[in-house]
Symmetry: C2
Subunit: 161 residues, 2 copies
Amino acid sequence: MNKVKNFLQMHLDNTDKKILQKLQKNSKITNKELSNGLSLSVTAVFERIKRLERNGVISDYVALVKPDKIEKAFMVLTQIKLVQHTKSNVIQFEAEVVKLPEVLECYHVSGEYDYILKVRVKDMEAYREFMLTKLTNLEHIGSTQSTFIISSVKSTTALPL
Amino acid sequence: MNKVKNFLQMHLDNTDKKILQKLQKNSKITNKELSNGLSLSVTAVFERIKRLERNGVISDYVALVKPDKIEKAFMVLTQIKLVQHTKSNVIQFEAEVVKLPEVLECYHVSGEYDYILKVRVKDMEAYREFMLTKLTNLEHIGSTQSTFIISSVKSTTALPL
DNA sequence: GCTGAAAAGCGAGTGGG
DNA sequence: CCCACTCGCTTTTCAGC
């Protein structure tokens, strides 16, 4: 699963792209089902998928969990400014934010703020708790600004091909 | 895969949570592997997973693709303001933005702007093209503001349990 | 890189404790 | 809730083109 080669790029033909499109939507599809509709043998599909895994194009197979079913319906985008942008500050901040399970994504960004975090918790009260006990306890944090998600219009893990 | 019941909530015990944690990281794990370390039988694990699927806790099984391997390394968060917030405008905008494959996520948010989009394309030139030919062609769009991702510090689909 | 067929492993159902 | 035993299908391997 984790044998990721770092070829900068591997060639993807149309068949590879079709396979990836399908697997990004449903990884439980069988090689047989894939082979139909591609007019290809099961073995050929199998070998292509293995090659995509070896080359790190496919990085993981995961189950997606519905946030509202496990009391993680409340989502916030939290923007963060560091007090100082020394290399050690940046490294330390990033190392600590990675450890927070409520933080699903963290990006170093352009613009007024330095980082944007995608945070998932149960509700506003839990977010308040997260802010007070975890986020603002991180070193080097200057100011923060929270943008609350009113509704999710679209959310997919499938990249366009 | 899509038989999603809408129980508002189902009870998850610690065993369910451990199963979900594992499956969120690696859905190719076998029921046997899961049963080890949980001191549970394969059948019990199997039945719990099926129940989680039936109740919509697990919504999908997908393959994750590395963006840089397929020339989608460039990521932008695009904030959008609508000119007018009538219901029909909102509905039309949302229906159209959902169709854009470059838009992986779209959220209706609090704050100065109305929407935040997570957009993935090849590079800055492709983003410019996306803006000019697709985004600004959408109806009812007022102003936009782009925040560019300098680096991804963390990115996971696994919700905390 | 593809095919078809054979082998190995897993999912899924059954009967029973 | 668990175990043991099936069957059928899928994955994986292999020889050959």
